[in-house]
Structures are given as structure tokens and as C-alpha cells.
């Protein structure tokens, strides 16, 4: 593979957003990885020319961040949060069962090339623990059974709906989104779940609702704190 002309054009577009070229290094690496599946030698050469750095300087950066991969992964990277809270709430069991189920370990890919398992750190979704991700889209409130199902569906090539996000897409597409390319999926995904709305619903039920700035200004509710 090589970095495509389309990707190069996207890279050039990203470059103009930044006051200094070097600042575009990370989005450029995300884009390169979308094309190549990992940070290939080719990516490093292309990106280093674009941002006018040495290849060593680019390698220094690409090797620092965990999302930039050293080797190609399967079609979907399936992450299981194993930080303390998720681990305790079931992440460890989920991980063990997936390892068993897929027959691969951390950063390894199932033999059909479909799924790469990865132990991931806290995803800022602890209210929805145990948490998994598929190509970085949230899979909240997981159980062992749900986790296996997700992996089976992914391996079978079936669409998997993320929670609080769109249908899980390809690794390459996810990379482009992260690099800032508009994928038209903003409206996807239902985020209004019990966890997100826990406080709001309670407030509404208690009559505490509407204590928004706007509501207060309108005098709809006039309860001050304390």
C-alpha cells in the first residue's frame, strides 16, 4: 500500500488549519494510518516531508502515542477497558472470555483478520462500565455475553451498532474521522440513556428541573442553591 492521492489532498487541507506545519503532525499521522493500517515507513516519509521534519522526529512522535500502531491490525480493533473500575465491574472477566473466545491475546488478530483485541485504559465512560470500544466507538454496559456477541457479529461481517455512536465502521474510516474529516455521522447514535440522563430525570421528577440559565432568566423556577 501507499498513501493515496486523496489522503495526500486531505493532508494538505489539514495543514492549512494550523499556524505552524508541525502542529499538523498528529492529524497527518491519523490520516496516514487510515490509509496504511498502521504507521508504515512510507507514512513516516510522506508525513515528514509534509511537515518538514526528519524521519526520526516523526518516529519519535508516532511511537509515543498508543493509537499509532506499529503493525497492521484486523478490520476492527476491539478494546476492553481494563482500568480498575471497569476491570472490577467486569472488564477483566470480559477480557478473559474474549481471549478465550477468539484465541488471541492483547494486540493480536483473529486468524480471519477480523478482530484485533486490545486492552485499553479508561475511556471517560465510567458511568457506563464495563466499557468496550470497537474502532473506538463506545460499547457501553458490556457483559461477557454481549461482548462475545459483538465479536461474533464483527467476525461474521455483520453491522454492530455502537452505543452512543454510529454503526461500527472500518478502522480506516475511524482514523479519518479522528483526523477531522467530516463523515456525516454526527447525528448517529443515541446518547440519551439512563446514565447520561440520570441527574436530569431525577431533577425533573423532583421538580428541580429547568434550573437552566435560560429558565432562571425567564423566572420559571426561582430556587437558588444553598
Amino acid at each position: 500500500m501507499a498513501i493515496s492521492e486523496t489522503t495526500r489532498a486531505q493532508m494538505r487541507e489539514v495543514l492549512v488549519d494550523y499556524p505552524r506545519k508541525r502542529s499538523a503532525l498528529m492529524p497527518l499521522l491519523h490520516l496516514a494510518q487510515a490509509d496504511e493500517g498502521y504507521i508504515s515507513q512510507d507514512s513516516i516519509v510522506v508525513v515528514s516531508e509534509m511537515v518538514e521534519l526528519t524521519e526520526a522526529e516523526v518516529t519519535a512522535v508516532s511511537s509515543f502515542y498508543t493509537m499509532y500502531l506499529k503493525r497492521e491490525s484486523g478490520r476492527v480493533r476491539v478494546g476492553v477497558c481494563i482500568n480498575s473500575l471497569c476491570a472490577v465491574l467486569g472488564g477483566d472477566e470480559i477480557w478473559d472470555s474474549l481471549v478465550d473466545h477468539c484465541g488471541v491475546g492483547n494486540n493480536q488478530t483473529t486468524d480471519d483478520g477480523a478482530v484485533t483485541l486490545e486492552r485499553i485504559e479508561c475511556q471517560a465512560a465510567c458511568t457506563h462500565a464495563p466499557v468496550m470500544t470497537a474502532n473506538w466507538e463506545f460499547l457501553d454496559d458490556m457483559t461477557v455475553e454481549k461482548a462475545k456477541q459483538v465479536v461474533d457479529d464483527l467476525r461474521a461481517g455483520q453491522a454492530v451498532q455502537s452505543t452512543r455512536g454510529p454503526v461500527v465502521r472500518t478502522f480506516a474510516d475511524a482514523g479519518r474521522t479522528i483526523a477531522g474529516v467530516d463523515d456525516g455521522l454526527t447525528a448517529e447514535g443515541e446518547i440519551r440513556d439512563d446514565r447520561m440522563l440520570a441527574g436530569l430525570r431525577l431533577a425533573q421528577a423532583n421538580g428541580d428541573a429547568g434550573r437552566s440559565a435560560e429558565a432562571e432568566r425567564q423566572g420559571a423556577v426561582n430556587v437558588k442553591g444553598r
Binding site: 511537515v51 493509537m67 485504559e121 440519551r192 431533577a203 434550573r211
Partner: protein, 433 residues
């Protein structure tokens, strides 16, 4: 204490993340109020509101803005810290998913106040849906004339760039974030100079947390008095609390500062059925854990500090009696080892050492001298590392042993998994597996 949904007031509306959904409830009205004031007066207003940084350190926001030298002829920058990677922290990402325009509006007001014409929102790379929604909000704001040049005839120009990280907790540290944004390895910088004087591209820069910035529009609209009517004198206002763990209904609760953990726990439906609280961590894994005896401590910077911990991100993690504290602490230390940037010796080598020692304890093969050593090594890191990540890594164990010395000592002969059945601790215990 009542709940006070401000930022989260309309999350139940299907289009809460769109500009229409936001404007329906007065969104972007704060801009006109701000533009009618002198930038310094906006800073003054934020100072008067007493708003403190919601990224963890609680630094007074208005004061930080006031540090930016004005008339220095240099470009100024606003950088929003949306790296939310602290274990336990899960407030900024939900906010960006549900109400990104409050952030964008805050960015415009803050930039106006500090006279920045370029702002960056640095979002951790692992949350594409949050990136999508913030990027879309920025596009909508441009289209509506809230961004770009001469915003709403104010004469004020602002460009906003949404920038994604790539997996590095350290990039939440503000100077590491700046290095990362400049295209370097995300390693912290020497301070001084502080970002307010020499930040992005060595120019004056304000770095603020997502929640901090998103709180600004409501303060501008409702006034400083409104904000200070909540919370305590030193910790005014309202805040997004995110309660996770062994509770009946984990979730996000927006409430005044000063709310107690007992209240939060109540809102979250209490501990899950049949279990009792063992320990809770008030604001991310980097602050010392607390126990049942601290449930009535008001969630203010000063009260939680007096209780021996820190408010941090204000996102309590709650653990019940099925949890092995040794296991939880070991896992956090593995996190800090994984996320140590490698720059300084105490953090890089100290976390390596602590993980080795803690794993022994977790596996039941530790010794009493290992326990002493963990405390010593933690003390050797504390205050010697380059940035606060090292201090954070030195926090969980000394915090835990204060309350759970006996349990930890069992690690000299029994594995944590034998003391605490991991399956019993899962949310699906007894349901499947």
C-alpha cells in the same frame, strides 16, 4: 440539596447537540452580552463568579485569564483541554456528546476576553463520536457566523481548530498538551514560564478544561451573583458529578458544589442491592480514596482537601465490599506506568518499581518489606517528579493503606483473587458469566 441541571438541562432533547437545539434555549445569547463588555470586564466577571478550573487542579479561572499579558504584540491562544483520560473522569466526553455548543460558545467568550484569535480544542483521540459532535458544532457555529472574522459585527475574529490526540494520558497535563499540539511528543515542559506567559508557540496561552469553558456562557448570561449563589465561598457554582461503580444507578448529576457524597449516592440509588460501601475516590484515580466516614464531606475543594483527599475531577468512583483494594490500586499503578511519559526518572522508574511490588502483593507473594517499600517508593516519587503524573502515581497506595492496612497485609500470603472473588464484584454477578 437540589439538582441543578444547567449544562445538562436539555440533554433529554433529541437535538441537544445541534445549534438549533442549543439556540432553542438561549444558546449563543451570552455572546452578545460578552461582546457588549470590554474584554477585561469579561475577565472581571469570571473572576467575580469564582469559577475554578474543572480539570482537576481547581485554579481560579478568571485569575488565569488575567495573567495573560495584554498589549504584548504577540498572538494569544485559547486551548481547551478535552483530553479527559483520568481514570474515573467521565464528564467532559458526555458534555461534548450532548451539548458541544456550550463549549463552543464558551470558547468564543473566553477567546474574546483574553484576546485570542485562534483557539484549539484538544480532544483525546479515542472518542470519535465526541470529536464528530464538537467538530460539527464548530462547523455550525462558523455557518451561523459565530466563528470566523468579525463575529456578529463585534469586530472580533476567531478561528477554532478541533485537534485529536492519539492516546496518551499525559497530554491532559497542560504543558504536555501544548507540546503535543505543536507536534512533539507529549512530554511536559518546564514551568516557569507558565502557559499564560509562554504557551503555544511560546505565546501567551490559556489552557482550560472543557467543563470550565462550557460553564462560562451561563455565568455571562446569569451573572456572577447567580453563580456564587451556589456552592461555598471558595468553591462556588455548579458542577457535573459523574458517579460510577457499585451503585444502583450510575450516571451524571449536575448539582451545586458542596453537595455531599451521601447525596450523590442517594441520587444514584444507593449502593447496589445487598452490598455496602467500601471506599470511594472523589475525583479520579489521582486523588486519595475515602471511605464511609467521609460521606458527609461537602464536595468543595477545601472540604475534600481537609478530609485528606482532593476534589479533582469531581467524578466519584464507588466500590463495595466485593472489591480488593490491592487489585484496584495495582491496576491504577499499571495505568500510571503505562502512561508515564518517560521524561523524568522518578516517575519512569518509580512506577516500574511500584508495579513490580504491587503485583507481588496482588498475587499473594508479597512480603511485609514490600509493603514498606511501596510506601517508601511512593514517597520517593512524591514531589520529585517533573509533573503531577508522578505525584498521582504516588497517591493511590499511601491513600489505600491508611484505611486498609490489614487487607493489604494479606497480600503477603493470599492472592487478592482468593480474598475477593472477582466475579462477585462484576455488575453482572449472578446474572450470567
Amino acid at each position: 440539596m437540589p439538582l441543578t441541571p444547567v449544562l445538562s438541562a436539555h440533554w433529554d432533547e433529541a437535538d441537544s447537540y445541534t445549534i438549533d437545539g442549543y439556540r432553542r434555549h438561549g444558546g449563543y445569547d451570552a455572546l452578545a452580552i460578552a461582546f457588549a463588555k470590554q474584554p477585561d470586564d469579561v475577565i472581571g466577571l469570571v473572576k467575580d463568579s469564582g469559577l475554578r478550573g474543572r480539570g482537576g487542579a481547581g485554579f481560579p479561572t478568571g485569575m488565569k485569564w488575567g495573567f495573560v499579558p495584554q498589549g504584548d504584540g504577540k498572538p494569544h491562544y485559547l486551548v481547551v483541554n478535552a483530553d479527559e483520560s483520568e481514570p474515573g473522569a467521565c464528564k467532559d466526553v458526555p458534555l461534548m456528546l450532548a451539548n458541544p455548543h456550550s463549549l463552543v460558545e464558551g470558547v468564543i467568550i473566553a477567546s474574546y476576553a483574553i484576546r485570542a484569535h485562534h483557539a484549539f480544542i484538544y480532544i483525546r483521540g479515542e472518542v470519535p463520536h465526541a470529536i464528530r459532535r464538537v467538530a460539527a458544532a464548530v462547523r455550525e457555529a462558523y455557518a451561523a457566523g459565530f466563528l470566523g472574522s468579525n463575529i456578529k459585527d463585534s469586530g472580533f475574529d476567531l478561528e477554532v481548530v478541533v485537534h485529536a490526540g492519539a492516546g496518551a494520558y499525559i497530554c491532559g497535563e497542560e504543558t504536555a498538551l501544548l507540546d503535543s499540539l505543536e507536534g512533539f511528543r507529549g512530554q511536559p515542559r518546564l514551568k516557569p514560564p507558565f502557559p499564560a506567559v509562554a504557551g503555544l508557540y511560546a505565546s501567551p496561552t490559556v489552557v482550560n478544561n472543557v467543563e470550565t469553558i462550557a460553564s462560562v456562557p451561563s455565568i455571562v448570561t446569569n451573572g456572577a451573583d447567580w453563580y456564587t449563589s451556589y456552592g461555598s465561598e471558595k468553591s462556588p457554582g455548579v458542577k457535573l458529578f459523574a458517579v460510577s461503580g457499585h451503585v444502583e444507578r450510575p450516571g451524571i448529576f449536575e448539582a451545586p458544589m458542596g453537595t455531599t457524597m451521601r447525596e450523590l449516592l442517594g441520587w444514584a440509588g444507593g449502593m447496589r442491592k445487598g452490598h455496602r460501601l467500601k471506599f470511594w475516590v472523589p475525583g479520579g484515580s489521582s486523588v486519595p480514596l475515602l471511605t464511609e466516614e467521609h460521606l458527609d464531606v461537602p464536595y468543595t475543594y477545601e472540604d475534600i482537601a481537609a478530609a485528606g483527599s482532593m476534589l479533582g475531577t469531581g467524578t466519584p468512583m464507588v466500590f463495595d465490599e466485593t472489591t480488593s483494594v490491592t487489585r484496584a490500586v495495582t491496576r491504577w499503578l499499571e495505568f500510571y506506568k503505562h502512561e508515564s511519559c518517560g521524561k523524568c526518572t522518578p516517575c519512569r522508574e518509580g512506577t516500574y518499581w511500584l508495579v513490580d511490588l504491587l503485583r507481588r502483593l496482588e498475587s499473594g507473594s508479597g512480603s511485609h518489606s514490600d509493603i514498606t517499600r511501596i510506601n517508601e517508593v511512593s514517597a520517593q516519587i512524591m514531589g520529585r517528579s517533573f509533573c503531577a503524573l508522578g505525584d498521582a502515581a504516588a497517591t493511590p497506595f499511601p491513600g489505600a493503606i491508611k484505611y486498609f492496612a490489614d487487607e493489604i497485609a494479606l497480600g503477603t500470603h493470599t492472592a487478592a483473587a482468593d480474598l475477593f472473588d472477582p466475579v462477585a464484584a462484576t455488575v453482572f454477578a449472578g446474572v450470567n458469566v
